[in-house]
């Protein structure tokens, strides 16, 4: 290892772990001691990354307040040093980090972080064409069973264990959020970007199943057979068409093709 490489290694070690042997290679300035000057870099490292987390998780920040957010943020910075050159991706592991101890007993924290992450990801997800209702007009009724749909790249499904949707909405409107509560059944959220705006909504168990299967490439005829096992079989095709209509008008689909 060259001197230069060894020096960078030691410099980084001092910032990440506090092992300050690098100080032996640094000069005092005319007005200040080297450890104070090095401290500028140490302080900047942690505070910049916690600030990036705050920017990406504004509602979680307002939910838990400065002190707790900084404590969670600093712990995340220590456990997950950034490995990507773009600060945009630093917070990606925050929801999973909050699923572990000592935060695991407050599942609202990881749910709220996961919902904010999904909305952030939808905001700058890949662009793609948005399918229109008119695109369906080109298919004769006998082809419908074979139609396959492509989900917009901004779309994402999230299962949550808490009333995070209500908490998110209250925080967004700067109102007092309801008490965090575990749901009897997991909540099924669908997140996507409509034009430029990230959106989410809650899905019924039936619609969530159909979305998961449809976005996985299952054709419409099979989807309707599956719907028939969830509720009134006679109304399955109509319910399927209803969900599809909602997805198209919300900009959730990018394309449709007849199965070949």
């Amino acid at each position: 290892m060259s001197d230069f490489a060894r020096q960078q290694s030691d410099f980084q070690l001092a910032i990440l772990t506090g092992d300050e042997k690098i100080l032996a290679e640094i000069l005092d300035s005319p007005k200040e001691k080297r450890h104070v000057l090095f401290g500028v870099y140490k302080y900047a490292y942690s505070s910049r990354l916690v600030e990036a987390l705050r920017n990406d998780h504004k509602l979680l920040h307002s939910y838990v307040g400065d002190e707790m957010f900084d404590e969670m943020g600093k712990a995340y910075v220590v456990a997950n040093p950034s490995q990507h050159p773009n600060l945009r991706w630093f917070s990606q592991g925050f929801p999973d980090f909050l699923k572990a101890e000592p935060y695991a007993e407050y599942p609202i924290l990881s749910d709220l972080a996961a919902l904010e992450k999904a909305l952030n990801d939808a905001f700058d997800a890949k662009d793609a064409a948005v399918m229109q209702l008119a695109d369906m007009a080109g298919f004769a009724p006998e082809l419908w069973d074979g139609l396959k749909f492509e989900a917009h790249p901004s779309s994402c499904r999230l299962d949550v264990s808490t009333n995070v949707a209500a908490v998110w909405l209250a925080l967004k409107n700067e109102e007092m959020p309801p008490d965090a509560a575990l749901l009897e059944q997991p909540g099924r959220l669908l997140i996507w970007r409509q034009d430029a705006t990230p959106m989410f909504r809650e899905l019924s168990i039936e619609e969530a199943m159909m979305w998961d299967e449809a976005s996985g490439g299952i054709p419409f005829g099979v989807l309707c057979s599956m719907l028939a096992t969830y509720d009134d079989p006679d109304g399955a095709a109509a319910r399927g068409a209803g969900y599809l209509h909602g997805w198209i008008t919300a900009g959730l689909l990018t394309g449709v093709a007849a199965e070949s």
Partner: protein, 302 residues
């Protein structure tokens, strides 16, 4: 014209490898501003009197969505320059080709007048500290950075510009001044220089040298851009926070920089505590007025 004919040298190593990188100096753009998301709507609805915008490359190195759409619209109306914070040109880690590919893709879309980053490193061993970290001004470091700049310029197919950063400490083993390092780096690699007037002021205060020595030590024909920004004074040292208006001392140094470097594309860079666009336009106009007072051929604002 190539760099070696414009910038003769008595040293043995070539200035720029023959024909590798176009070496024409980028055109003068006038008086610009760092593009910030807070001002998107006002810029797109009002066409404010700003000559050009500098964008932070990483803010647009994204899969898609609104930031890139806004940038597409802004570049239709204004010249744009790309300014990165993660090139880590002085890192001893292996080059990050994934990052370079993203930078090149963005440049293909934006067609910037030039691409800049900082003379610094941001991490080693696969980690990124997201800071502009200082280097020792040694011959070993110089050789390393020259070869890294050449690699990046070959990859991007264009000369880049590198900015002097604010530093808070100096290394025992430095063998030359920062301005000697920058001058040699530019001469040997063919890169341009982004002269951050505020950073010169900050580093000069922190290390106890005369900022005018820095100014006089930089080759005039290598400078393609000035940055002007504010900082936070801590008494014994200054921290480059970019969250204040430009202070009087930095305005004075800017005037000295104009006297030395002449007509150089200039911009106001505010990264934090971002004020209204109108407030920043007042500062942009001030850069214009000061230049007009010193350079007779320069038109005044309005």
């Amino acid at each position: 014209m190539n760099a070696s004919t414009r910038f003769p040298t008595t040293q043995t190593e070539p200035s720029v490898r023959d024909g590798a990188i176009p070496a024409d100096k980028p055109a003068y753009l006038g008086f610009g501003l760092g593009l910030r998301a807070q001002h998107y709507d006002e810029i797109l609805s009002g066409n404010p009197p700003i000559d050009w915008f500098e964008v932070i490359s990483e803010n647009y190195m994204l899969p898609g969505g609104q930031p890139l759409r806004v940038l597409d619209r802004i570049r239709e109306r204004y010249p744009v320059v790309m300014h990165g914070v993660s090139l880590s040109i002085a890192s001893t880690a292996p080059p990050n080709f994934e990052y370079l590919a993203g930078l090149k893709d963005l440049a293909r879309r934006v067609e910037p007048k030039w691409i800049s980053d900082h003379l610094c490193w941001t991490g080693v061993h696969g980690k990124n500290l997201h800071d502009l970290l200082p280097i020792p001004y040694t011959n070993e470091a110089l050789d390393h950075v020259v070869s890294r700049v050449q690699l990046v310029q070959d990859y991007l197919g264009r000369a880049i510009a590198l900015e002097n950063v604010s530093t808070y400490l100096q290394f025992h083993d430095s063998e030359m001044t920062e301005w000697e390092f920058l001058s040699e780096l530019s001469r040997r690699s063919g890169c341009w220089l982004l002269f951050d007037v505020n950073n010169v002021y900050v580093s000069a205060f922190n290390h106890g040298y005369d900022p005018h020595a820095f100014l006089e030590g930089i080759p005039a024909d290598r400078v393609v851009q000035f940055h002007l920004a504010g900082h936070s004074h801590m008494g014994t040292h200054i921290i480059d926070t970019h969250d204040h208006p430009v202070c009087n001392e930095v305005w004075d140094l800017y005037a000295a920089a104009i006297r030395r470097f002449g007509k150089v594309s200039t911009m106001i860079e505010r990264d934090d505590n971002i004020p209204s666009l109108d407030e920043l336009i007042v500062e942009v106009n001030q850069t214009r007025e000061i230049a007009a007072g010193l350079l007779p051929s320069m038109p005044r604002a309005g």
